[in-house]
Symmetry: C2
Subunit: 121 residues, 2 copies
């Protein structure tokens, strides 16, 4: 239902703090216009519109023209999908393997936790 290209777009969109903040604002004020949204940011209205394009590309925001204003709405579907994929594919499995690895992340030890494969090249 969600291919890799779509996932790229969603992660890409979420990778910038300002865009996450836009999502929060649109979520809190559904139907907000472009200009009103832009007023909350330091950058120009055009910059905000470009961010909006990225978010619409990722389908995280949908909009509809209403007179001379464009109303913005948040769409949680893509996040739900990634959330679901993480829950099923990633988190469940990975969480089980975390304890074996996490000490490495916290303070790089010298002893390898596992010597398995490593051939192949």
């Amino acid at each position: 239902m969600m291919n890799d290209r779509d996932m790229d777009a969603v992660f890409q969109a979420l990778a910038h703090e300002s865009r996450r903040r836009m999502l929060d604002i649109v979520k809190d004020e559904p139907g907000i216009g472009v200009g009103a949204l832009a007023a909350d940011f330091d950058v120009s209205r055009i910059a905000v519109m470009k961010h909006l394009s990225v978010l619409e590309e990722a389908n995280l925001i949908v909009s509809e023209k209403h007179g001379r204003t464009r109303k913005l709405y948040f769409n949680a579907a893509p996040i739900q999908m990634i959330h679901d994929r993480w829950t099923s594919d990633y988190s469940a499995y990975w969480a089980g393997h975390m304890t074996r690895i996490k000490y490495l992340a916290e303070a790089r030890h010298e002893t390898a936790p596992d010597e398995k494969k490593q051939g192949k090249s």
Copy 2:
């Protein structure tokens, strides 16, 4: 525990299909070396190393030198954190509001679902 800058790094890292694939491979073959990993990709070993830098920057991969090889390990902690944040902050709230909005995403209607605020600027 995870600030916005860290989140940027994780989303940025996950935004590219090749890096997600690297994560999958390292997850399946813990302790794999850089060269062995690079052999699974079309691009050069140096390109793969740069991707690895991004993943280590995001703390999604940790590594340790072992002789002349560097062993790579997957670290699920950042994903767990985002997963938790989504579960608590985002998904729970957003999921409740999805039904009101989703028809807009599926087939742009002409009627606004909500006329609320929209003032502010």
